[in-house]
Symmetry: C2
Subunit: 326 residues, 2 copies
DNA sequence: CTGTTAGCGCTTTCAA
DNA sequence: TTGAAAGCGCTAACAG
């Protein structure tokens, strides 16, 4: 491989000069700069990132640690993080924890060997990982990681939006399908939903499951397989995956959505816009989250490393409707 | 940070000795080895991967280049690649190409800066990327990349399995929803399906779209919104996403699956097992593909770097049934 | 504005 | 079996 020395020799300049034109911002005379640039092209010189990393004890990489890349929401997050990082000249190191705190720690440790510029971690669901720290800039996304700044949607307020929407539509027999009560995110969404409902004087039956399709379907069947006057007229879920499972349950019971029952999800994953009917949901500003997280760890725009809550928005599509007056 | 020199000094040995116990396989006297190991723990020494990488001009990383992490099949692939790499002590650098050959080239170039041990690339769908080469071990997965060894399921035979299944079930009015004809993978699956049908003397109406949900729904509606005697009794698709869209179209038209129409997909993504009815499909051995690809680029098990076709398998679930005799 | 040079932390000959 | 020492390719003082 051709290195910086070869370029310097060929262009009759010092390696320092070549290094400076590589750094772009240095003070190099126009003539020399152009000569060096031409030589670089001529020799097809590719700066060695590893050497650079060693010298600066920091590579142009960021670590992305997520529980499950198979989860559409995290996949979406990864996509945006990669896009932003990539366009800023960074590579992304992907680590998957499988929602296991032990693995999470090991993965982070392993990432650190590569001296990344920063770390974006979506902590494990239940892990109250003990105070952990390192000298690389790190943010937690979506879920709290003890001792780290958190960048996340405001789950509580987002869920409140869903509740307000249902109330505005005139629903009074409402049910909520929550995620696991052990997961802080679940608790926040649930509290936001129930408290908003309570403020409006509307009662709610809440059941608890997991964030997945299967859970939505099972609990949906439980809530819907009842006589019409005992059946909720609207159901909110803690995730779109649950809502989609719920859609299936409704369809199996020959219930029309939204005529017989309104359904609202949370996350706005790509599939939400493809199911029938298209799912009304609470949209997380994933791209914005990714951008903030990246800016925070790279220190771009002088973004400080601190908590940052973003607002979710209500996306009304076809799965919710005003309560039919009977 | 504590480095190898600190450890050497503390243990009163040379850095060479420390390096050898790090490498594990070297000939170091038992006493010294244990002393060094203890010192490493005591100082909580973490070898610097970047320095190591520079010296060996190869880091313990592999690059994974995929078109779209949002696609469930690729997400699944990424998951397995990460798991295998991780357990072998490798980190994975993730690059997303968005199915754009230009970006693909740039991304690979960028990855190479980090001197990865190998590259696993799922080429862009339409890209006949011109002969490309580098000195890092590289394999293509799922789709052919000119000049690179390919590790993939046998798309042709896999689709043949689907055709045989439908024929065995007694279907004679069969339709096929293909992916884009510009994509080699689409063409192989289509050919495998149609040729197998032809051998069995069964005719087939083939329509062409894309690999996504929307395409399956649109084309499904086109095929199914007909009088019963003109409607296919079975439809195969080039992807599970299409099949799921198709399921939706059938449901919208009040057609029962599999009673009114049998449906079979391709890929066996996680969602395939969660829809109602559960989707009969052709399963790709994703984990095996990931394992082979990883072994190939790391040279583990003396796996040579060459083409390697794996067999898909038929997974019969609830969306296909024998043709009802009328 | 440009050249020189000392390392970054590690692996790997080469000697002893 | 162990130690000494030469770099891997680059950046960042420092000098001029």
């Amino acid at each position: 491989m051709v290195n910086i020395k070869d370029v310097a020799a060929r262009a009759n300049v010092s390696v320092g000069t070549v290094s400076r034109v590589l750094a772009k911002n240095e003070t190099v005379g126009k003539e020399l700069r152009e000569l060096v640039e031409a030589t670089i092209r001529e020799l097809n010189f590719r700066p060695n990132g590893v050497a650079r990393g060693l010298r600066r004890s920091r590579t142009d990489m960021i670590g992305l640690v997520i529980p499950d890349i198979t989860n559409p929401f995290f996949a979406e997050l990864a996509k945006h993080v990669e896009a932003i990082a990539s366009s800023a000249g960074f590579s992304v190191l992907l680590s998957i924890t499988n929602d296991d705190p032990k693995i999470e720690l090991a993965q982070i440790d392993s990432l650190l060997k590569s001296y990344p510029t920063g770390l974006i971690v979506v902590p494990t669901q239940f892990g109250a990982s003990k105070g952990w720290s390192s000298d690389v800039a790190t943010v937690a996304v979506d879920r709290r990681f003890t001792g780290l700044p958190l960048i996340s949607v405001n789950h509580y307020r987002g869920a409140g939006l869903a509740a307000a929407h249902l109330v505005a539509l005139g629903h009074e027999r409402i049910a909520y399908i929550a995620g696991s009560a052990d997961a802080p995110v679940s608790r926040e969404r649930r509290a936001g939903f129930l408290n908003t409902l309570a403020s409006a004087g509307v009662r709610c039956e809440a059941v608890e499951g997991h964030f997945d399709y299967a859970s939505g379907e099972t609990l949906g069947r439980f809530l819907l397989d009842r006589p019409p006057h005992e059946r909720p007229t609207a159901i909110a879920t803690a995730s779109d995956q649950q809502a989609i499972g719920l859609l299936r349950a409704a369809s199996d019971l020959d219930l029309k959505v939204p005529d017989d029952v309104s359904i609202i999800g949370f996350d706005d994953i790509p599939l939400a816009n493809l199911v029938t009917p298209r799912l009304t949901t609470i949209s997380q500003p994933v791209e914005q989250i990714a951008a903030r997280a990246f800016a925070a760890i790279t220190g771009a725009d002088n973004v400080p490393l601190q908590d940052d809550y973003l607002e979710a928005t209500l996306v009304v599509r076809g799965s919710t409707a005003a309560l039919l007056q009977v």
